[in-house]
Each structure stands twice: as structure tokens, then as C-alpha cells.
Symmetry: C2
Subunit: 164 residues, 2 copies
């Protein structure tokens, strides 16, 4: 491979994970799919990604076992979207820790606000990404909401395999 090394055969698990997850779009797509935004146009619009790149990534992520195609109803019509697999749902701690890291170590742009990670199972905000800092339970997508003050919305996540 020329532009990007192939790390799928590395012994080091960090390198193997980055062989799949090393592209930033992949993690952002997982995040959106866990939020129920699993349709092509929703992803394109929310991420600001070019359609060619999005199409390539979705194909690759299905091959990598991160996504599956699922049907959904668009009026009388049946279309297809994308849902998270177990492997993708297991990335939730990483996404949440990336978010916690950014809030600690990057500058919040003007007009932004703190995104709180709410563990709906206990009702408290968690300051850890993997295990709830308030109640000690392991954090699962279906028990989490992300409170985004700049959108005035608290978005509930959803379990693997489901769309919108």
C-alpha cells in the first residue's frame, strides 16, 4: 500500500485497531450511526463529508464488520441505511473518552458549550467514558444521552443493529 500502511497483520493490538479506526471519518460515522443517523444523506449532511468518500468509507466499514445494511421505510418505499454492529457499539468508550479529552485539552470555540454525557440508567452525568463515574456501571449506548447545549438537544443513543 502506498498512501497508507497495512497494519492488519501487526502483533501490536494498537496498530491493528488503527488499521481499521485510524481514519477520522470512521469514528465519526460510528458516532452518527449510534445516534440513529444511519442514512446516507443524514451522514453526508451532518458530517460535511464528500459523497465519494462517504460511499467508500461505508463500504469499507461493512467489510471491516463495523456496519450492517438495514431496511427502513421512506413512506411507501423501502430504502436501506446503516446500523452499528457490536464491534461498533464497543467503540462507545473510545468516542466518549475522545470527547472528554477534547473538553480538557482543546479550546472550545466561541458559542459552544460543555457536552454532558448522561447515564440515563442512573440519571447522572459521567466524567468517565467506560464506566459511569456516578454509579459504577459499564456504559452502554442504549443507556446514554449526549447533551449538546449548542443544539439545545439531549440526544439519546441506541443499541447496535437499530436505525433511527
Amino acid at each position: 500500500m502506498a498512501l497508507r500502511s497495512d497494519w492488519s497483520q501487526e502483533f501490536c493490538p494498537v496498530k491493528r485497531s488503527l488499521d481499521v479506526l485510524g481514519d477520522p471519518w470512521v469514528l465519526l460515522i460510528v458516532r452518527d450511526v449510534l445516534h440513529g443517523r444511519g442514512r446516507f444523506d443524514q451522514l453526508r449532511e451532518n458530517l460535511g463529508i464528500s459523497e465519494a468518500v462517504l460511499s467508500r468509507r461505508l463500504t469499507g466499514m461493512i467489510e471491516a464488520g463495523l456496519l450492517t445494511k438495514v431496511d427502513y421505510a421512506d413512506g411507501a418505499r423501502i430504502r436501506q441505511g446503516y446500523a452499528a454492529t457490536e464491534a461498533a457499539a464497543d467503540l462507545l468508550p473510545i468516542l466518549q473518552q475522545l470527547s472528554l479529552w477534547a473538553e480538557k485539552h482543546t479550546a472550545l470555540p466561541a458559542g459552544g458549550g460543555h457536552m454532558a454525557l448522561i447515564h440515563d440508567a442512573c440519571g447522572q452525568e459521567t466524567t468517565q467514558g467506560e464506566v459511569c463515574s456516578a454509579c459504577g456501571q459499564v456504559l452502554l449506548p442504549e443507556d446514554m444521552s449526549w447533551d449538546k447545549p449548542w443544539k439545545h438537544a439531549r440526544e439519546r443513543l441506541q443499541p447496535a443493529g437499530t436505525l433511527s
Copy 2:
């Protein structure tokens, strides 16, 4: 920007973190620096990265606040290497969870083996990346060793600011 979007001004903290961490080399360099391999040649050799790309990444990571230059003695000579900042040390949970994710969701190549994350403070292996699954303490670099059976070595991590 043409080849890569600029996400430093995004409200979403996940996007802001990936603006800095979205390149796979960045996380691999942080990993190596936390292992004490902070010299240019050590990084080049261990990562298999091209020298031009390594040089660009190191410069960028200093600007991003992930690394600092530190002196080290090469015989009578004083040379410079790279050490992790607090921001880089705070990426330890993410690195460990990437490793745990890969061991669960990617195929181990023939001849490899399970990399155990050892919490030296309690002596046990942890199956979580952020908080020790055995003793419940928050995991810090200076309390961790990564046991790599394919290298027959247990490598001790080191605190931010130090080299080799």
C-alpha cells in the same frame, strides 16, 4: 483545506479531538513516547514511518501541545528527543481501549499473543483502559506495564515529561 478538513473550530468535542488525533501516526507516536522511545531514530525504526512524515508529525504534535523537546546524553554529546506532555499522557485510556478493542474484534496474526495490560500499582492485569478492573484505581502511565509476549518483554510506561 483540500485534503483534510479543519475541525478545530467545531462545537462537537469528538470532532475537535479527531482534528488532532485523527491521524493514526499521532496515536502511535504517543504510545511510543510513553514507552520511552522518544528519539527520532527509535520512532522511525519501531513505527516503520517515513522520515519526512515523522518529521512533519513531530512538529505538528509539538504545536498541538502533545510533545515537548527534551535533551538526552548520547555519550559526550547532548541530543534532543521528544517527551509526552500531560495532554499526551491523558491519551493512555484511549490507547489501552484501542488495544482491548482490537483484541476483541480483530484477528490475531499467526505467531502473535495476548498483550496484557498490567497495573503495577496492584500487580493485576486490567481488562479496562481507564480504571483498573482489579483494584478500581485510575490508570496512570507510570503505574502501567504492557506485556508483549511476541517480544518476550514486559515494557514499563513512564510519566509525562520524561525520556528513556
